[in-house]
């Protein structure tokens, strides 16, 4: 699938709110905290909409105007670093008079964040490269657009 901007947004929205939510629910049980993983998922989703604009601009610099799997992974790493950086940006939250990133438990460890993020990312990426084409027959010809 060669994504368009609309396709990126729609596929991200669909995958994170279905498979992503299901995996997050499991991590909620494991962490005995449903609020933090779901809030993190929403941060990934909403920041992702902005990241997608940047990815789309970079994509337009390529002759094939494609987005190879390696770039998906690179983007995934950047998105994780941004959210984890915000979780740990205590100086910023102190200036704003907040205890931490809103909605996120200040006791969240990197291992917990990484386990949750990586599981969601790997499952959604694999689904995007495989079963999405089977479930939605037209998806691959529409740049990832579902609606």
């Amino acid at each position: 699938m060669i994504p368009t901007l609309l396709g990126r947004w729609q596929t991200r929205l669909f995958l994170l709110n279905t498979v992503g939510a299901l995996i997050t629910l499991i991590f909620g049980f494991l962490f005995k905290d449903f609020w933090t993983p779901f809030v993190l998922l929403e941060y990934i989703l909403w920041f992702g909409f902005i990241w997608d604009i940047l990815y789309n601009l970079l994509q337009s610099l390529r002759w094939d105007r494609d987005w190879p799997p390696l770039f998906f992974v690179g983007g995934g790493v950047l998105e994780a670093l941004l959210v984890w950086g915000l979780v740990k940006a205590n100086f910023l939250w102190a200036i704003l008079g907040l205890p931490g990133l809103p909605g996120v438990n200040p006791g969240l460890t990197f291992a917990q964040f990484a386990a949750h993020y990586c599981t969601v990312f790997i499952f959604t990426l694999l689904l995007m490269l495989s079963l999405m084409k089977v479930i939605f027959l037209k998806w691959r010809f529409q740049g990832g657009e579902l609606f």
């Binding site: 060669i2 368009t4 610099l61 002759w63 094939d64 105007r65 190879p68 084409k133 027959l137 740049g143």
Partner: protein, 524 residues
């Protein structure tokens, strides 16, 4: 029309065609009159004309969308849907073990495009214990095209997969031998098709009536430029000056034994293949040299918005015949939204004579240039004369001083491609003449975004087209496996919307169920 080319290369049959029934002189045929005439008549709902991979893909889509196989007939020359494609591949130096220039997800045996050929090859490797090769392929599909060369399937794997799908859908019961002579509208909103049912000379044409017709007749033949035709007419020699899509293995055998010089024309993927083959022959006989003739130098590639294609050694490189985005990204939408003139411009800009960027090919060119056995010349062939068992070619340069160069070579291989002109296909020529169907700015058959030929609409009846005959239409890479899948999908969706009998929408649940049936090898 195609001098000294074996009948197989024109589609498989040498004809001495008996006349068609007189009703085919009219634009619209009366069904009542036809039934009274006593001519044997057969009826079907869906008719695929061509019998190649384009027809096969359309039939596969119809069956998976719920159509009963007894309602479908496919007419063509060859028993195997890929027979002509394979023959042209072999002639142009892509035997079964070599890799095509096709995306892993271009799967004519699987309408979903997943699993692609890369995943299947990894799976087969693992089953046979070739773990290292499987790991390499996995890395390749993960890192392509940034750190690795793009994966492309082996020709033999593609053909074997089509065989498997053909068995699954019962292709042998749907396909029959038929050389389609003419198509006419009927007065009850259908189409009557006349076809010759056997290879026998003087065989009376048979008639079949269908409500929905799909045309996928492929290229009319190899492209024979005037200099080649003129040479053959004058000399009768079709061994020294050949088209790369003709069988020409004799030339490589001769070179292996005696060495010699080859003038190669064209700079597309076929030229790259021919150079690869000549380089292989050089390992048996180092006395083989290549003179590569291209019309103009290529130091700067085309630009679209912010991106530019970068040529090397006067070859224009891109992964497939069009940028990848044309197959389903932004460019597909750009193409669909463009008008006829813009589409033609985009096809010229994005397409053209390009070859794949492959390390071994670049190494061959670099080595050849350094060692002197591969050289590039710019210009075009003015004339070719036989001289003492060799060919003397007069090259006309394109420089301001109009330089003429005489060179002597043992062979000339023309790798400028296949002939896409619709008028060279008698069936399309008849349709163009009878119904005045429109052509697009590229000179091919004009189709709607659903690949319907609008002038042939007849009440509820519809005629769709796919493949190179629609080049310059709403989808750029029509002449690709993905293109055939896309056009089949669009036309079948159009049938669903128009309420055609038996075709049902393939929603997520039905799509998954049908895919599971495909994976199990069970009939749709």
């Amino acid at each position: 029309m195609y001098p000294n080319i074996r009948p197989q290369e024109r589609g498989g049959v040498a004809w001495s065609e008996p006349p068609l029934p007189s009703i085919f002189a009219q634009q619209e045929v009366s069904m009542a009159g036809l039934k009274q005439s006593g001519l044997p008549l057969e009826e079907t709902t869906y008719l695929a004309i061509g019998g190649g991979i384009g027809s096969f893909t359309w039939v596969d889509h119809l069956l998976i969308h719920g159509v009963d196989p007894s309602q479908i007939v496919a007419l063509g020359f060859e028993a195997k849907p890929y027979a002509r494609c394979r023959r042209l591949c072999c002639n142009s130096q892509i035997p079964d073990h070599e890799r095509l220039r096709s995306d892993s997800g271009g799967t004519p045996d699987n309408i979903w495009g997943w699993p692609g050929y890369a995943v299947r090859e990894i799976w087969h490797d693992l089953q046979r214990g070739h773990v290292w090769h499987a790991a390499r392929l996995l890395w390749q599909i993960f890192s392509e095209p940034v750190l690795s060369e793009p994966f492309t399937p082996k020709a033999g794997h593609v053909f074997a997969s089509v065989d498997r799908e053909a068995r699954r859908i019962g292709w042998d019961n749907i396909r029959r031998f038929g050389h389609v002579r003419a198509i006419r509208k009927t007065d009850d909103g259908r189409y009557i098709v006349a076809y010759s049912p056997t290879r026998a000379i003087k065989c009376k044409p048979k008639l079949i009536v269908a409500s929905y017709v799909h045309l996928a007749v492929g290229y009319p033949g190899a492209r024979f430029l005037p200099d080649l035709i003129s040479y053959r007419r004058r000399t009768g020699d079709c061994h020294r000056f050949v088209n790369a899509y003709e069988p020409h293995d004799h030339l490589y055998h001769h070179l292996r034994q005696f060495g010699g010089t080859v003038l190669l024309r064209g700079r597309g993927i076929t030229a790259s293949r021919v150079i690869q083959r000549l380089n292989e022959e050089r390992s048996y006989n180092a006395n083989i040299t290549i003179l590569h003739l291209v019309r103009t130098p290529k130091s700067r590639g085309p630009q679209y918005e912010y991106a530019r294609r970068r040529p090397k050694n006067h070859f224009d490189h891109q992964t497939y015949n069009f940028p990848k985005s044309c197959f389903g990204g932004d460019f597909r939408f750009v193409m669909e939204d463009a008008d006829d003139r813009q589409r033609a411009e985009l096809v010229d800009l994005w397409g053209g004579a390009t070859t794949a960027k492959r390390g071994p090919w670049e190494d061959i060119i670099e080595t050849g240039l350094n060692e002197g056995w591969y050289q590039i010349r710019f210009g075009h062939i003015d004339r070719v004369e036989p001289t003492n068992g060799k060919l003397t070619t007069v090259l006309q340069g394109h420089s301001a001083w109009r330089e003429e160069t005489k060179i002597q070579t043992d062979f000339i291989i023309d790798a400028t491609g296949l002939d896409p002109v619709p008028e060279r296909n008698p069936l399309l020529q008849d349709l163009l003449h009878t119904y005045r169907i429109s052509k697009n700015h590229k000179g091919h058959i004009k189709v709607t975004n659903d690949f319907e030929i609008i002038e042939l609409q007849n009440g509820a009846g519809r005629i769709y087209a796919s493949g190179v005959m629609t080049l310059g239409g709403p989808f750029a890479p029509v002449d690709s496996f993905v293109g055939l899948q896309y056009t089949a999908q669009r036309s079948v969706e159009s049938l669903v919307r128009s309420g055609a009998p038996g075709v049902r929408r393939l929603g997520p649940v039905r799509s998954m169920r049908q895919w599971v049936r495909w994976a199990r090898g069970v009939r749709p």
